[in-house]
């Protein structure tokens, strides 16, 4: 299936969206991804390892993300750790999805369904 149409990947599930967001500013290993998501969502999305790696497996399959090549790691870093990063296709899908979401928010705002302007 790989890199077909980015549009066909939409809409993304919450978990996939947040993983993409977590990787948007650089590569991370699994635990760090989960930490970041928990942090940015104020603990609303707290995923266990099974859920996370299930999603990672699917996202690898869809070429949204890839494993970062071996790199020099800090000394205390466990050699088991694998780092993941966005593919260019993944970045494109993320952008499309964010565009779609802001479209949704715009409409909602026009209809005065959204009160505060907290959405970035």
């Amino acid at each position: 299936m790989a890199k077909t149409d980015a549009q066909s990947q939409l809409p993304l599930t919450a978990v996939v969206l947040h993983i993409l967001l977590a990787l948007a500013d650089g590569e991370r290993h699994g635990y760090a991804i989960a930490q970041e998501i928990e942090h940015t969502t104020d603990g609303q999305i707290r995923m266990g390892p099974g859920t996370l790696y299930g999603s990672i497996q699917r996202m690898l399959g869809a070429s949204l993300i890839e494993e970062a090549p071996a790199r020099r790691r800090p000394v205390e870093d466990d050699e088991r750790r694998r780092y993941y990063r966005l593919t260019s296709f993944g970045r494109r899908v993320l952008e499309l999805e964010l565009e779609r979401l802001s479209q949704v928010v715009r409409v909602a705002r026009q209809k005065q369904l959204v009160r505060d302007a907290e959405v970035a």
């Binding site: 266990g48 390892p49 299930g54 497996q57």
Partner: protein, 895 residues
């Protein structure tokens, strides 16, 4: 030093093995690391956070494993080679070659270690044999189709009255249902009832069935000789005195006479001509009779009148029609009949149930519970054998590493080990057949009589054998997975370097297996405990009468000979007098339906001053006819008023004695004496006494509202005898029979039973279930105890050196002992927690089987926890003692 890893975490890690291979190979390490970090973070926040985290990790894991299997099964051959260590089998071989080579190798390996092989095979034989035996019962009862053609089409139709289901059917309603329905190809009526056969040396009793000709078409009944009834012969208006004999009755009662057809026999005082003999083993719902007679001859007065619920109905669905559709059809007809005959049919309905469901529906749950229990035993046995194999893995590591060094891939070694496990389990399965044969025999005698099927149907047929083969292979794979997985993960370097394989990971797996064993044993113990408490509660139930030295029997007078109430009552009166004159009889009386005989009649009643709100809503009373002296014979206390008087006879004002529950419910805070009740369409009866409550159909029934009327005021041809003996009740059977023959020498009497037999029979089925579950629980406990013993002994041998050093440094024996016991204790505590959780679930499943005990009965759960912990501690004590006796010098020199 490696960081200390908690048992819960080890369990988590071991559970990762449950992931499908592709996912596991790629992500297991990362998942484990992730979980470890989570646990470490939670531990800093205190034990509550740790508990929350553990729960969330395990639920995440469970959901994720399930999901991954769904994915794996959807795309079975995903290429995972990117992540795999490539397999380096020396020469590409044909698949079959590999299998044969593996088999040969497996057999050789097993033969080399006869001790291990025998212990493992016996454990498996026990588990597989027990499962096979239980399955043979399930197969006979639940799976094997009933012996009718297209058995799924055969239905029973019951009458309903208001809220009451499972009522007999009114003959006239049956005639209308049969004429008006669109969903059945045929509908037949039948009424089993014992009949009197006279003309021989002594009067004999046969089980009869009064049937419509159409019944044979519903059941597709086949004859070996003669012909079936014609429609006209069975109808009320055109009935003809013809009879069909059941094949077995023809053989036993009539000595297989070849000239039976056309012969006449006298049944219930009427002469019938035998026109047919059924094929051997002809089945008929609800018990095979000896003789079939036209339903037109059904002897009860008013037996076939509108408004009298006398008969049973069997029917065959048209092909493709569902039970629900048939139900709607009959319900509509019942509604029409309600409008057409408002006087008799108000509130009357029909209820369709498949014959299969009718026969085994009530048994399904208890059988499945036993299946569950025995399956758990097998699981525990599997865990044990897996543990044995893991321990053996240590000894085999050199062999495996040599194979690996010679180029066998990990997958190849794992496959080899798995083959070995399956071969072992099949050996166990074959040995298990011996266990199964013995157990099946025992089961047939133990529970055969309680089953609605012919007990000889419980046998090891092809389906059972296939089942045994299936579970043997499944078992082998199940307990072979852990060792195979272990071997496939082991690092070649480690293996060659060390004498031990697996190391920490192996200990973790083994600990998890022991925890599973103990936890499952606890659940079984708890279930057995709850069932035992139910049984005890049931045995404590006061039936309301004294069953000791009490003899019961029954007889039915031929309606032709006793054609008036006066004649019947005269016979009854003389009978009671004769019975009381028998030496050794303390008291005697007649009762229409004796307790626990399963006879009994309920009537809608009207209470003076309290009219029923609407039709079909009237209170129901279990009405029994008794002679004076029944209460004193049964030792049922008369609480208010008095027993029936000799003057309460035909023609005198109607009287009734009610039980305490009825009096309390109907006239709270008032004296019931002098109040009036109407039974059906009788005249008013005045309450003259209140007696204690009694159980009637079974011991755990909700207390019924009961009324007793004098036999003398409504003599009916059927009655039971109750005789209180001074000595052993059954010794009186012969004198009682002769006493009745002194009154009427043609009268057969049957069902001589000591009341204590009937009381025992009520608890027997519960006892069987309790005994089976208890037996399985004990086996489970034993196997689990051996399991924890084995694991601790194994760890201790591995730690001999450590212990030696400790002791050399001044540790005392009791310190060492405490250390080992502590290790065992940790396993037990975790197992108890998991086990209790499983037990609570099991208790909920058992809910319907319990009586007089709450599913979460604290006493039971505390008791079984203590038993499990006690036995497990005992099993730990032996290795602990051994460890504390280690001679430091010997231990240190050993390395």
């Amino acid at each position: 030093m490696k960081p200390r890893v908690s048992i819960v975490e080890r369990l988590y890690r071991a559970s990762l093995a449950l992931y499908p291979r592709a996912f596991r190979d790629r992500f297991a390490d990362e998942v484990r690391e992730f979980a470890h970090l989570r646990v470490r973070a939670a531990r800093c926040k205190g034990s509550a956070a740790l508990a929350r985290e553990t729960t969330s990790l395990f639920s995440d894991l469970t959901a994720s494993i399930a999901k991954q299997w769904l994915i794996a099964l959807r795309e079975p051959r995903r290429t995972t080679t990117d992540y795999d260590t490539p397999t380096v089998d020396a020469l590409p071989r044909d698949n079959m070659d590999i299998v044969i080579q593996d088999l040969r190798f497996a057999l050789r390996a097993l033969a080399r270690r006869p001790g291990f092989t025998i212990v493992a095979a016996l454990t498996l034989a026990l588990g597989i044999g027990a499962n096979t035996a239980i399955f043979s019962v399930v197969n006979a009862v639940l799976i094997r189709p009933l012996p009718y053609n297209n058995p799924d089409q055969v239905m029973l139709v019951w009458g309903t009255q208001g809220q009451q289901a499972n009522q007999g059917v009114v003959y006239a309603d049956y005639v209308d249902w049969r004429a008006r329905n669109h969903t059945f190809t045929e509908m037949g009526a039948f009424r089993p009832q014992s009949v009197n056969l006279t003309g021989g040396d002594t009067p004999d009793r046969l089980i009869g069935s009064f049937v419509s000709a159409s019944l044979f078409r519903v059941l597709n009944t086949k004859l070996s000789q003669g012909r079936l009834f014609t429609n006209a012969e069975t109808e009320v208006a055109t009935k003809a005195p013809v009879a069909i004999l059941q094949y077995e009755a023809w053989r036993s009662r009539f000595g297989s006479r070849s000239d039976m057809l056309g012969k006449t026999i006298v049944v219930n005082g009427t002469t019938f001509t035998v026109i047919g003999i059924t094929a051997p083993n002809t089945p008929i719902p609800l018990g095979a009779p000896d003789i079939y007679l036209p339903i037109g001859y059904y002897p009860n007065a008013n037996g076939l009148d509108r408004g009298v619920r006398g008969i049973l109905v069997a029917a065959r669905l048209k092909p493709g029609v569902s039970v629900a559709a048939a139900q709607r059809d009959l319900s509509n007809i019942a509604k029409q009949l309600e409008q057409e005959y408002p006087a008799t049919n108000a509130g009357t309905g029909a209820q369709v149930i498949s014959l299969k469901e009718q026969m085994v529906g009530g048994l399904r749950e208890s059988l499945l519970i036993i299946v569950g229990a025995v399956a758990v035993v097998l699981l525990i046995a599997c865990a044990n054998v897996a543990n044995l194999q893991l321990a053996r893995g240590a000894a085999r590591s050199r062999e495996l590493s040599v194979r690996a060094a010679l180029g066998a891939g990990r997958a190849r070694i794992a496959q080899q080990l798995l083959t070995e496990s399956v071969v072992l389990s099949i050996i166990g399965g074959v040995a298990g057949m011996a266990v199964a044969v013995g157990l099946t025999k025992a089961l047939v005698t133990l529970i055969g009589p309680q089953l609605p099927i012919d007990a000889t149907d419980i046998r090891l047929d092809v389906r059972v054998l296939l089942f045994a083969l299936g579970i043997s292979i499944a078992t082998g794979i199940l307990f072979g997975l852990a060792p195979a997985w272990q071997a496939s993960r082991a690092n070649l370097n480690d293996m060659l370097r060390s004498r031990m394989s697996g190391g920490l990971a192996s200990v973790a797996t083994r600990n998890s297996l022991v925890i599973i064993q103990l936890a499952l044993s606890l659940a079984l113990l708890a279930s057995a405990g709850l069932l035992t408490r139910s049984l005890m509660a049931l045995q404590r139930v006061d039936p309301g009468f004294d069953g000791s030295n009490l003899l019961t029997a029954q007889f039915r007078l031929p309606a032709g000979k006793y054609d008036s109430p006066d004649k019947i009552w005269a016979m009854f009166e003389r009978t009671v007098a004769e019975l009381r004159a028998i030496p050794g009889v303390e008291a005697a009386a007649l009762v229409r339906a004796s307790p626990l005989s399963q006879n009994g009649e309920s009537y809608s009643i009207e209470i003076e001053g309290k009219p029923a709100v609407k039709a079909g809503d009237a209170p129901q009373m279990l009405v029994n006819s008794v002679t004076r002296g029944y209460f004193s014979t049964m030792r049922i206390p008369v609480l208010l008023g008095h027993d029936i008087a000799p003057t309460d006879r035909m023609g005198s004002p109607g009287v009734i004695v009610v039980n305490k529950s009825f009096a309390d419910a109907t006239w709270p805070n008032q004296s019931p004496l002098g109040k009036r009740i109407k039974i059906g369409d009788e005249d008013w009866r005045t309450v003259i006494g209140v007696v204690g409550d009694t159980k009637h159909y079974t011991l755990n029934e909700k207390q019924l509202l009961q009324g007793y009327i004098p036999h003398a005021q409504r003599p009916q041809i059927f009655t039971s005898i109750v005789v209180r003996a001074k000595g052993n009740a059954l010794d009186l059977a012969k004198p009682v029979r002769e006493a009745i023959w002194r009154v009427d020498r043609d009268q057969p009497v049957w069902r001589f039973r000591a009341m204590e037999q009937d009381l025992d029979a009520v608890v027997t089925s519960k006892k069987t279930m309790m005994m089976l579950t208890g037996l399985f629980a004990l086996v489970a406990l034993l196997v689990a105890a051996v399991g924890i013993y084995g694991v601790l002994s194994y760890t201790m041998t591995q730690r001999t050196q450590e212990v030696g050093i400790r002791m050399a440094l001044g540790a005392e024996m009791r310190h060492v002992r405490r250390m080992v016991l502590g290790e065992g204790m940790r396993l037990i505590v975790v197992a108890v927690f998991i086990g209790l959780a499983v037990s609570f679930g099991a208790a909920r499943l058992l809910r319907n089987q319990l009586f007089g005990v709450a599913p979460l009965d604290a006493l039971t759960f505390v008791a079984v926890t203590v038993i499990l912990a006690g036995v497990a501690m005992l099993a730990c004590y032996i290795p602990a003692r051994r460890a504390s006796r280690i001679d430091p010098m010997v231990a240190l020199r050993a390395e």
